[in-house]
């Protein structure tokens, strides 16, 4: 089990919450117990044996999006509070404590290896042995198969040999919901399938999956020998190599948006889109230029930034599976985030959770791969 770094946790616990303005949870709920240092205090006090876990304390400490917004201003360079909070509450899970919001999804994970229940296989399958193994992630499979088709279409256009397999959940939800043994089991199963695939590159468009492959699998006893690639970097490289050629006129792109039910205004002959940086791509993977470069490679598109962007982006409310476990809080956080976007510019993002969190009835959100695919002949 990952060890809590008590010195770092206490640095946070004894700090007056100098980062709390960037914690979407406390700024949305207004509840002191879910402020970053508030959570750190509970975690530290339980870890030191001063306090016993109860459901309310577990729920408070679990009210973390894993978005690392708290790191924007954090002076403690070695502190990753989101990780420390996750590690700190694992003993509560071992003691059998859980939250009502987690239980149905944990049951799904145990039964179907997906928090969403019966898994859907990807519609596109290519032969075994292809160089690139595309890992779609449970959320894209459950909520947005169109993004999977778009990614496959782009790979076809670029002439990339790829395969998709029957995936198990990456395991991150199991860790977040306190069942580390289940996380390790899922990781082990995925590792076996990856090895059997014969692929040398593991490509994913899901930041949560990417994060757990790169930051957890080795600790969970499932080190990966494949090169792990993120969607934004991978597709940008295909553009740079001339294997993908975005083209088309502004009107064509406006037509594309119409096809998604999005009305877009043209400004100075350019079509304005706003890019929402997913937290993990921006702050953990440091992929803020790649998606912008992809959008800028499409003729006629201009990017309008939201109030907080790039490394200072704010979570959509979907981090750490909040949309499943704390749906009301997730929706409220998404509402705050939406208020930071230019009202007229359609939103593009590169994360299945962000797409799900920010989409509104009257205003869908596009995945980066969907925009790119429509603009590549």
């Amino acid at each position: 089990m990952a060890e809590v770094n008590m010195e770092q946790l206490l640095n946070c616990a004894f700090c007056p919450n100098m980062c709390r303005n960037e914690c979407p949870v406390v700024q949305t709920l207004g509840r002191e117990a879910v402020a970053p240092s508030g959570k750190a205090r509970i975690a530290a006090l339980t870890g030191q044996g001063h306090l016993d876990w109860d459901e309310a304390m577990l729920e408070a400490v679990a009210n973390c999006l894993g978005c690392r917004g708290c790191t924007i201003h954090c002076p403690f360079e070695e502190l990753n509070l989101c990780d420390e909070l996750t590690f700190s509450r694992l003993p509560a899970g071992k003691e059998g404590l859980s939250l009502p919001g987690w239980d149905p999804y944990l049951n799904n994970l145990r039964r179907y290896s997906s928090p969403y229940g019966q898994k859907k296989d990807p519609v596109i399958k290519h032969g075994q042995g292809a160089e690139v193994l595309v890992f779609n992630g449970c959320t894209a499979l459950a909520n947005n198969p169109a993004s999977i088709e778009a990614a496959a279409s782009l790979l076809d256009k670029a002439g990339v040999s790829y395969q998709m397999i029957e995936e198990d959940c990456c395991g991150y939800p199991a860790e977040v919901w306190g069942d580390l043994a289940l996380a390790e089991q899922l990781a082990s199963e995925n590792r076996r399938k990856f090895a059997e695939s014969g692929a040398s590159v593991l490509l994913t468009n899901c930041p949560e999956c990417w994060s757990v492959f790169t930051r957890r699998y080795a600790d969970w006893g499932a080190p990966l020998s494949l090169e792990i690639s993120d969607g934004p970097s991978f597709f940008l490289q295909l553009i740079r190599e001339g294997k993908l050629n975005p083209g088309g006129e502004v009107n064509e792109i406006a037509g594309l948006l119409d096809a998604f039910g999005i009305r877009a205004d043209k400004n100075d002959g350019k079509l304005a889109l706003s890019y929402h940086d997913p937290c993990i791509w921006a702050r953990t993977a440091e992929k803020v230029d790649q998606p912008r470069e992809i959008l800028q490679s499409i003729p006629g598109i201009a990017i309008e930034e939201p109030a907080a962007s790039r490394e200072n982006t704010r979570c959509c409310g979907g981090g750490s599976m909040f949309q499943l476990a704390f749906p009301a809080t997730a929706a409220a956080i998404a509402g705050r985030r939406l208020g930071e976007f230019p009202p007229q510019a359609p939103i593009v993002t590169a994360c299945p959770f962000c797409r799900e969190g920010l989409k509104q009835e009257e205003k869908p959100v596009l995945e980066l791969v969907e925009v790119l695919d429509r603009c590549c002949k």
């Binding site: 206490l10 700090c15 303005n21 207004g30 306090l51 309310a56 109030a307």
Partner: protein, 487 residues
């Protein structure tokens, strides 16, 4: 094992049956989801950034605990909750973001803590009249961010900007780092909206000035929750400055730096940031300047021609005192690091007691108070460091901000009390005022009578008139008994 809930200075509690009844009626007013008795919420709101609460937390105890936490969403709900608490004679502690340094939110008599953070809207921005109306639970950095997006600044940048609320600023008469140009929080207030015990809601008029008797809404400024709850404020705003000029001067003697400031303030210049560090702090904050000189950090901003004129006047004044111009880099460094207080957590974990004590001096005793307080702090056994800087200046004088670090060994709380006694004795003996902007809270109440003289009885009478059942934030501002802490 589970002894966290041991309270160290709780004077009394309300009978549980009354709390249960209050909870039931509060749930009817604000919804069940906005009322909590769970341990996580009681624990979170029982403390602020008072060093003593950290000492106790490290030992697994708390200063005192509320019995109930409520989150009203609007002024009407605050009014109904205060009416209920007053009728049931249940103590009420208002809570913002808990960045206070003197125990102002410790619920000495238990009761109800009203967390105001759901009241976090900017109600309106009036660009023509340069005013904003904002609810008291809004985070300071997010307040400034919203103003910036509209092209304005609130001009208020305390070190706690990111971890304090607008209501907290108003309640403790806060001062920000840019205060010499934009003023302290009381200079920014056009009008306040507040609720008194019993539920009466009132609002001052949002006009530049009135001559219709005392401004009763301004009475709430600095009342630290002892007279009622500030629910919203109309504040002054400024267009974002067009130009910023950064410059640092060094002086061989601290007294020369003070004299230079006194001279340029007499000239009428109002640089936004004026910070004069003693040699020790100069060495700590700006190692490249060494620890043999005293750095004066200046930031001047506003309309370009005014900035240039102020810079020229200031340069003339500092040159009279033999200052050396060392450029803008130290100011840039300060701007980058000004919210970084990591050292406090790290030293605390190594057994240190670190605290800051800010007082107000006139020019005639600005330097002597620094010396007297430094000697007093270093005279307490265990103190390793006592340094100072001046961070807010006026034509009449300056705020002196002392920082002290000690390694007292076992009884840190006893050391803390001795430290403060020594510092306050020295301050009062020099004729300085005991607080510039941190406020009084729980701990500084001991010196309120001496600080105010006869005026303190006026404050006591106001308290009695507005809060006859004495439900509002008991034991704070020196208004009420603090038996266990004083022992």
């Amino acid at each position: 094992m589970d002894h966290l809930m041991q309270t160290m200075i709780q004077d009394e509690k309300t009978k549980q049956a009354l709390i249960d009844q209050f909870a039931k009626e509060a749930a009817f007013i604000i919804g069940e989801e906005n009322v909590s008795t769970n341990k996580a919420d009681l624990l979170a709101t029982c403390r602020d950034y008072w060093p003593v609460t950290s000492i106790w937390m490290s030992e697994g105890t708390v200063p005192a605990l509320p019995q109930l936490v409520v989150w009203p969403g609007n002024t009407g709900e605050v009014s109904r909750l205060l009416a209920l608490a007053d009728r049931m004679k249940i103590p009420v502690t208002p809570y913002g973001e808990g960045s206070g340094a003197l125990g102002g939110v410790v619920p000495l008599k238990g009761g109800v803590t009203i967390d105001l953070k759901r009241m976090n809207r900017v109600r309106w921005i009036d660009e023509d009249n340069l005013m904003v109306q904002v609810e008291s639970g809004l985070n300071g950095a997010l307040y400034e961010e919203q103003l910036n997006r509209a092209g304005y600044t609130g001009g208020h940048f305390p070190q706690s900007l990111r971890c304090s609320t607008v209501g907290g600023w108003l309640s403790c008469r806060a001062a920000g780092q840019f205060s010499t140009r934009y003023g302290k929080i009381e200079d920014m207030v056009v009008a306040l909206e507040a609720v008194l015990p019993g539920g009466t809601t009132f609002e001052g008029r949002s006009v530049p000035r009135t001559a219709t008797g005392p401004r009763v809404d301004h009475l709430m400024l600095g009342s630290e929750g002892t007279l009622g709850v500030i629910t919203a404020a109309t504040l002054r705003i400024w267009p974002l400055p067009e130009k910023r000029h950064l410059v640092t001067y060094t002086f061989e003697r601290l007294e020369d730096g003070l004299e230079a400031i006194r001279r340029f303030m007499r000239k009428g210049t109002r640089p936004a940031v004026v910070r004069l560090y003693d040699a020790q702090e100069t060495g700590n904050h700006f190692p490249e300047l060494g620890d043999k000189v005293c750095a004066l950090v200046l930031l001047i901003e506003g309309a370009p021609r005014i900035v240039e004129a102020e810079a020229a006047e200031i340069e003339a004044c500092v040159n009279q005192l033999g200052a050396a111009d060392v450029g803008s880099e130290p100011v840039e460094h300060w701007l980058e690091k000004r919210f970084n207080i990591a050292v406090a957590s790290m030293l605390f974990q190594k057994g240190a007691v670190l605290d800051t004590i800010e007082v107000t001096t006139n020019w005639h005793n600005a330097y002597s108070t620094y010396r007297a307080m430094q000697d007093a702090l270093l005279g307490v056994e265990g103190t390793m460091l006592a340094s100072g800087h001046y961070s807010h200046v006026y034509p009449e004088g300056a705020a002196l901000y002392m920082t002290t670090v000690g390694f007292p060994g076992e009884d840190k709380v006893a050391y803390y009390k001795k430290l403060w006694q020594a510092a306050m004795d020295a301050c009062l003996a020099e004729g300085a005022a005991i607080s510039h902007h941190h406020g009084v809270g729980l701990h500084r109440g001991a010196w309120m009578a001496e600080e105010h003289g006869a005026a303190f009885s006026v404050l006591q009478k106001i308290k009695q008139a507005l809060d006859p059942n004495r439900v509002m934030n008991p034991g704070k501002l020196g208004l009420g008994e603090v038996e266990k802490w004083r022992k």
